[in-house]
């Protein structure tokens, strides 16, 4: 029983990070209808940004996080404004191809720039933990979870209650009507992709603090984010949190009771089941 409690705590904390990883992907997918296969590569870049701020300038990773977000925002804005906007009307297959291309290019540039060495962001408190009702809670995981929660809620509030947020949602719902109200879609699309990239940057920072970084972590993270997006659904950013938590808990429990070699089988099995039974996600509107 004690062990199950510990496993659930692990799963929830992991799930928060998962949710943040998927959040940017979901935003871009939902608004721009682009499945950004380079999302994981952007997470990787965020992790390196934080790594160099931490090792080079001695910044605390949580202080480096906003900087990583700003850097990635700029990169994302430029990618959308000057590349993806050109093919935004093309069939989805074309955008898939081009983001896949970005993934490959970014990954290999990263190897040239950062080498294939494994890195970790290892502040002095990286191993700290405390006991909570008999379960051991790793401090950095809890912090990562809190940041993930804050950013998810922040994005939700931003989209629901600010002018730009409403414009973003309006563009996703009805482009022509949005344009009639004076929305500039080129700028707005770039803004959305930039926010998605910034969220990837935040996720990368936290990932680097709890795990290890190398130029090749991207594709696996894209796959995981994709699964979470499908499970949670694309309707509301807040649903991503549910998708992430669900997957985190399922993986943790599977690793214990079925065996750690089967976590991918189970999580992608659930993905397939969701696609068959509830294609709009577990919490999404039924079509």
């Amino acid at each position: 029983m004690q062990l199950l409690w510990q496993i659930l705590v692990n799963g929830v904390l992991l799930g928060g990070l998962y949710a943040l990883m998927a959040l940017g992907l979901v935003l871009v997918w939902g608004v721009l209808n682009i499945v950004n296969l380079a999302h994981g590569a952007l997470i990787m870049l965020g992790a390196y940004a934080c790594y160099y701020l931490f090792t080079g300038l001695g910044w605390d990773p949580f202080a480096a996080l906003p900087v990583a977000m700003v850097l990635l925002f700029c990169l994302g804005y430029v990618i959308q404004r000057y590349v993806l906007n050109l093919i935004i009307r093309a069939p989805m297959f074309n955008t898939l191809l081009i983001t896949f291309g970005f993934e490959v290019v970014i990954t290999y540039l990263a190897q040239i720039a950062f080498s294939a060495d494994f890195r970790t962001i290892n502040p002095s408190y990286a191993g700290a933990n405390f006991s909570f009702l008999g379960a051991t809670v790793p401090l950095v995981r809890l912090l990562a979870f809190a940041v993930a929660l804050a950013l998810t809620l922040g994005l939700w509030l931003f989209l629901e209650h600010t002018r730009i947020g409403r414009a973003i949602r309006a563009t996703a719902q009805n482009l022509i009507a949005a344009r009639l109200y004076g929305v500039n879609p080129r700028h707005l699309y770039a803004l959305t992709f930039g926010i998605g990239a910034a969220l990837a940057g935040a996720a990368g920072t936290l990932y680097g603090v709890v795990s290890q970084i190398n130029p090749y972590i991207g594709s696996g993270l894209t796959g995981k984010s994709f699964a979470i997006a499908i499970i949670g659904g694309l309707d509301k950013s807040i649903y991503v949190l549910a998708g992430g938590l669900f997957l985190g808990i399922v993986e943790a429990v599977t690793a214990l009771y079925i065996g750690p070699t089967y976590t991918d089988v189970v999580s992608f099995g659930i993905l397939v089941l969701v696609l068959i039974v509830r294609p709009t996600g577990l919490l999404g509107r039924t079509a």
């Binding site: 494994f118 290890q212 090749y216 065996g259």
Partner: protein, 397 residues
């Protein structure tokens, strides 16, 4: 007229011999990019370094001439299927004479089938899985000791520790190498007093070990043995710290001997045990590099990072070809293959000779990170240095 014909024939013969006097081509497909690039680079760099040194010393003696070696390395991007295609290309289009191997058992398992099919000998220093050598192939030779023996010396050492660990957790990734390690370890552990209380296979892509670590913690396991990849080992140690898992010792098949591992973990690398089939000591003499210590220094100066056993094993592969070609006095693949089976020489890597299946047998020296330095602890002749045991709890470091 007769003389002219004779002269022509002599000319032809001379030309023909000139053709065969072209450099001896060695080909390899190595992980220079992709997820295994971090270890793959040892092979690319060490093959290159060995070939340069051998050529600088005059090359390989075949008959009355000395031939230079020529190395062709392709980047397989850490993709097994691509590596198979590249080996086919090396053999059929580039017409290389001999093959050097890639890194990792999964790759060698697939690529050695090409060597066997085309009867071109391959000596590889990157695959240790017993599966590679259990198929009756004649053209594959390996300079990493058998995977099933990797934890042998560690288990021996554990028997001598006071108090000896009583319970054991065995974790392994689901690829050819790590499954072989686990099979061998399970068998060897059954001969000791150790009780295996956790025995789990995990997916090679795993990055989260919190569930297994929680299980290990709840069972209060004394010793943890992990057979996996370096990324997983880094995650495992970091997560063990965050979950406050405190075994008396833990040991890992990979990672610990590499400088990169210690750099990534910093203080947290301390107390980790590992193993190496190679320790860069001056006692290991070498024809081309002087000795293993000199090799390690030169290598670091040349490539900017420390070599570990992967690099030494790769150098031994090139040298084994040189010895075999010289003793066969030919570059005929069948003759060289038979000569490889009989080579027996001392190198910076250790004594190189192959058993009937084609694999080397070198003892694994147990190593431990102590205060950021890699210390050889236990070898075939017994204790070399005192191990730090039991590990202090994370909170008391």
């Amino acid at each position: 007229m007769k003389n002219l014909a004779l002269a022509c024939a002599a000319m032809m013969a001379l030309l023909a011999s000139r053709v065969s006097a072209a450099p001896i081509e060695l080909g390899a497909s190595v992980q220079l990019t992709g997820q295994f690039a971090n270890t793959g680079r040892y092979y690319g760099d060490a093959y290159q370094f060995a070939v340069e040194k051998i050529n600088a010393a005059g090359g390989v003696k075949v008959g009355n001439t000395r031939e230079k070696l020529n190395l062709k390395i392709l980047d397989n991007q850490s993709d097994v299927n691509l590596s198979v295609r590249q080996y086919v290309q090396l053999v059929t289009q580039d017409k290389v004479n001999f093959l050097l191997g890639p890194f990792a058992s999964d790759f060698v398992l697939a690529d050695s089938a090409i060597a066997e099919k085309y009867n071109v000998p391959m000596i590889q220093g990157g695959g240790a899985s017993d599966q590679i050598f259990s198929r009756g192939y004649k053209y594959i030779f390996g300079t990493l000791p058998p995977a099933s023996d990797y934890f042998d010396s560690t288990l021996d050492l554990m028997g001598q520790l006071k108090p000896p660990p009583a319970t054991l957790a065995l974790l392994y990734a689901d690829d050819a190498f790590d499954v072989s390690v686990a099979d061998g370890t399970r068998k060897d552990a059954s001969k000791t007093k150790l009780k295996i209380v956790v025995d789990q296979r995990y997916s090679s892509k795993a990055s989260d070990f919190n569930s297994i670590l929680s299980l290990i913690k709840s069972q209060n396991v004394d010793a943890i043995l992990v057979a996996g990849h370096e990324t997983e080992v880094l995650n495992f140690i970091r997560q063990a710290k965050t979950l406050n898992v405190n075994p008396k010792l833990y040991s890992f098949t990979v990672g610990v001997p590499s400088a990169d591992f210690r750099a990534a973990l910093g203080q947290d690398a301390n107390y980790a045990f590992g193993m190496s089939s190679w320790v860069p000591s001056a006692a290991l003499k070498d024809e081309y590099f002087g000795n293993a210590e000199q090799f390690a220094n030169e290598y670091k100066k040349r490539f900017g990072y420390e070599p570990d056993y992967h690099a030494a094993s790769a150098v031994a592969d090139v040298q084994a070809f040189v010895k075999a070609i010289e003793s066969a006095n030919s570059i005929d693949p069948v003759k060289v293959r038979d000569a490889i089976a009989k080579v027996d020489f001392d190198s910076l890597y250790g004594r190189v000779r192959f058993n009937s299946a084609g694999q080397i047998n070198l003892p694994q020296t147990v190593v431990q990170v102590q205060k950021g330095k890699l210390v050889p602890i236990y070898g075939p002749k017994g204790m070399l240095e005192q191990p730090l045991y039991p590990m202090p709890e994370w909170s008391k470091r």
